[in-house]
């Protein structure tokens, strides 16, 4: 061992500029191109080179020279259908998102800020919801948003609720402590600011199987819209806060953290480690989409009493739920409802993909992708369309006369 004094004089070895290959999973790609056959964007717009080219193929070029970055990557919706199709376990969608972040592939103007900061917009809008909802539905306002921000005027903007889910829950929280078993509910932005009914239904269903619901002291947007718009630093900050909150609530006796939004659930469970490098391994298995938690309870015999629900419903499976392997849980859950006539729609992407379809330049692509799904839904004689994702719900309700319900709402309707 050299004395410290000497150590100071030793110059560090010259840094050889090496490729930073911390993630070489793209090397597992065998070039079968099956991902491209399943990519809804590649199908809708021929100028998008498809996931193989944009993901593992392009990565080889990009790590050699950033100049070879292809601007067309901005068209990727991160639906992750490519990852489901891949027989070689390449996380193609993640490779593309990371490349976009590394190469300034995200446009980040005021529109992107507004669309992606869902909790901030929710806080601002819900306090003045009656006004906001009227204003944002007005044609001149939509025109203005279109012209100034590039939010397509043909889109129906989400309605805000005056009483947030958190506010409602605050009045009922005391009631929840009477249950021995408890879970923590990650309500997400949409349930909190837009459709609190799903949250209320979730509380009713869990209470019916003797499980109490808690919220974390603080909750931030899961980060899915932030990731989709390249606000990774902000997404990481949210992730850190959420993870700290989850750790606290699990320590305090919650059995699981449950989300009723398939995209939130996927983000909390899979995108935190894969996309944001936020380690959630200590309780990854406890972060669950609501259907998975419920079907496991039902399977172990903890099932509520349900009355027959004589309804015809058609189920649309969201891309991110497919990616998490969760479609089977929702389907099996609905099959537990007596009297329900369930048909499964083909697994087509709805095309809205969160903030993507709200952008003026993506409107046509989004609608083009939606076509297959919409055609099938229009000929469906269902009382309701069921889906787990708020984005799919918005897309179906904007384009058809069908009302869309969350599977948990369906269970709540069947409760005796």
């Amino acid at each position: 061992m050299l004395p410290n004094k000497l150590l100071l004089h030793i110059k560090p070895a010259p840094v050889i500029k090496m490729l930073s290959l911390t993630d070489t999973t793209f090397d597992n790609c065998i070039k079968c191109t099956v991902c491209t056959t399943r990519c809804p964007v590649a199908e809708a717009r021929p100028d998008y080179p498809g996931p193989k080219q944009a993901g593992p193929d392009g990565e080889r070029f990009r790590i050699k020279s950033p100049g070879l970055y292809d601007d067309a990557l901005k068209y990727c919706t991160n639906c992750k259908r490519c990852e489901v199709a891949c027989p070689s376990n390449v996380h193609i969608g993640t490779i593309i998102q990371k490349a976009k972040a590394r190469h300034d592939g995200f446009k980040q103007g005021p529109r992107e800020f507004m669309l992606s900061h869902t909790d901030l917009m929710g806080t601002l809008s819900s306090t003045t919801a009656p006004i906001v909802n009227v204003v944002t539905a007005m044609k001149p306002v939509k025109k203005l948003l279109d012209k100034t921000l590039g939010v397509d005027e043909r889109r129906t903007l989400p309605k805000y609720t005056f009483q947030t889910f958190r506010k409602w829950f605050g009045k009922h929280a005391g009631n929840q402590e009477r249950f021995d078993r408890k879970i923590t509910y990650f309500h997400g932005c949409y349930t909190n600011y837009n459709v609190p009914a799903v949250g209320k239904d979730l509380v009713a269903v869990l209470n019916a199987i003797n499980i109490g619901v808690r919220l974390t002291a603080k909750e931030k947007c899961c980060g899915v819209p932030l990731i989709a718009n390249g606000f990774l630093k902000k997404a990481r900050k949210n992730a850190d806060l959420n993870m700290t909150q989850f750790a606290k609530s699990l320590d305090a006796g919650s059995e699981a953290v449950i989300s009723s939004s398939s995209s939130c659930a996927m983000t909390l469970r899979d995108e935190y480690p894969d996309m944001l490098d936020v380690d959630n391994s200590a309780f990854k298995d406890q972060i669950q989409f609501v259907s998975r938690f419920l079907i496991k309870e039902f399977a172990s015999g903890n099932k509520p009493e349900m009355k027959p629900l004589n309804l015809k419903v058609a189920y649309h499976s969201p891309c991110h739920l497919i990616r998490m392997g969760g479609v089977v849980h929702t389907v099996e859950l609905m099959r537990e409802i007596p009297g329900l006539e369930l048909t499964l729609l083909d697994q087509n992407c709805c095309g809205l993909s969160g903030t993507y379809g709200f952008k003026k330049e993506n409107y046509d692509t989004s609608q083009k992708i939606a076509n297959k799904m919409l055609e099938q839904i229009k000929t469906t004689e269902a009382d309701y369309i069921i889906t787990d994702c708020e984005s799919c719900k918005m897309q179906v309700e904007m384009n058809t006369d069908h009302k869309v319900l969350h599977p948990v709402t369906l269970i709540a309707m069947a409760l005796v």
Partner: protein, 433 residues
């Protein structure tokens, strides 16, 4: 979660089994990790193309029946020719309903043409794949034009010309290759060498582009008797547009499956999945079976990557996980294993026997014959003990060499169907009691 039958693997064998089970009213799930090897397949179905001496099989069904005498361990010998026929019949029915009609030349094999211009015996073909008769493949064909779209890399017409010329029957034929440019077709959005078959198919499906293609191919055909093009044409429902094109140009046109993604193979995969969904089946894609829970000679439940603490229960399981390529089999230093359940595998431990010395010596390698060893009912064993509610189907099975025999399609369909029939029979016996 409980099912009547769970099928592990979503390829040809798995989906054949699954559709049969669902059709019989059984609550059925398929678990598939990634798209199957149908993406790589020709889209024709072979049953038995070559006898053990290497000679070509003219009529596959009598040859399959005879196989039982010489090779009792062959999956066909266990399943029987009647089940094979029934399975194929149902397969054709379902593909027909799903919009991908398959045809055969009565009971006889035909030659299908590969992208490299070689001929392979097969039994079922799709519209647009022109079957050539086994005895006189070049009958009535004097001039052949092989046409590609300039830049499309997954088909090389010069290789196809060279390959076809090697066949004795085509020695007299005049075979030329041509390319039409992307500009002629109005495909200027991206470099054509970046385009894959599916992307070309989407672009060429537009009315204007299709018309341009028709004109360009008409020009390229000249006075040819036969036009060979890569499989890059289909409508938005995945139906081949070759018959329509052929009528317009007034020349016989043959499509050949390109390098992956192979459109004719994908058509079959998509059609089978649509049928399974329509029959109420549950297709679980992107999840991997990691473990089986056995009890008393039965597979009770399975755990998947996403369902480690929530096992999937079934009364019957079908393993259709494929061969080495699909990771249904793995080779270790001195043994070949079935990685999911560690089922007993038929393979010598002497590694030097697995492959012949030369990579390409026109003989198939032996490792292709290795696989899970099963009884007459296709039930496997584990540490020597039989598993009564499990069946193995398709290329995970031991005892046949799909490459040397030209039998991959038929074995998948026959064994997949056979397993399903036994499961259904077990249910009917229960209901009878």
């Amino acid at each position: 979660m409980r099912y009547d039958s769970i099928i592990i693997g979503g390829g040809l064998a798995g989906l054949t089994s699954a559709i049969r089970c669902a059709e019989a009213g059984l609550k059925t799930a398929v678990i598939s990790f990634g798209e199957s090897s149908l993406t790589f397949a020709s889209g024709a179905i072979d049953i038995l193309g070559y006898h053990s001496d290497g000679s070509v099989v003219q009529s596959p069904f009598p040859a399959v029946a005879k196989l039982a005498e010489s090779n009792p361990n062959h999956p066909y010998s266990k399943v029987g020719v009647d089940t094979l026929k029934q399975g194929l019949h149902r397969f054709c029915h379902h593909l027909d309903v799903a919009g991908v009609p398959m045809a055969s030349q009565s009971e006889d094999n035909h030659w299908r043409t590969t992208a490299l211009g070689s001929l392979r015996p097969a039994w079922l073909y799709q519209p647009g794949m022109m079957p050539l008769p086994i005895k006189q493949p070049a009958k009535g064909i004097q001039r052949i034009a092989i046409v590609n779209i300039a830049g499309f890399r997954d088909f090389q017409p010069s290789l196809a010309v060279a390959g076809l010329k090697q066949h004795p029957a085509f020695q007299q034929a005049r075979i030329t290759s041509k390319t039409i440019t992307a500009r002629e077709l109005g495909l200027e959005t991206r470099n054509p060498f970046e385009l894959r078959s599916i992307e070309l198919a989407r672009a060429l499906n537009h009315a204007d582009n299709f018309q341009r293609l028709t004109n360009a191919l008409g020009g390229a055909a000249g006075s040819s008797d036969l036009l060979i093009i890569p499989a890059v044409l289909e409508d938005s429902l995945g139906r081949s547009r070759i018959p329509e094109l052929s009528q317009k140009i007034g020349c016989q046109i043959m499509e050949v499956a390109s390098l992956p993604p192979s459109l004719p193979g994908l058509r079959i995969a998509n059609a089978l999945k649509r049928q399974f969904n329509k029959l109420g089946g549950m297709l679980i894609e992107g999840d991997l079976v990691e473990k089986g829970n056995f009890d008393n000679g039965r597979l009770v439940s399975i755990e998947t990557h996403y369902n480690k603490d929530l096992p999937l229960y079934a009364n019957h399981f079908v393993l259709a996980s494929g061969s080495f390529f699909s990771k249904g089999l793995l080779s270790k230093q001195n043994r070949i294993i079935e990685p999911t359940f560690d089922l007993d595998v038929e393979a010598p431990s002497d590694r030097s026997l697995w492959a012949s010395g030369k990579f390409l010596d026109s003989k198939a390698h032996h490792f292709i014959e290795y696989g899970v060893s099963c009884n007459q009912q296709l039930q496997p064993t584990r540490q020597g003990l039989p598993i009564e509610n499990m069946y193995c189907v398709g290329s995970v099975l031991a005892g046949f060499n799909p490459v040397a025999e030209g039998s991959a399609g038929g074995v998948s369909i026959a064994t997949g169907f056979h397993a399903a029939e036994q499961i259904i029979a077990a249910y009917q016996a229960c209901a009878g009691n």
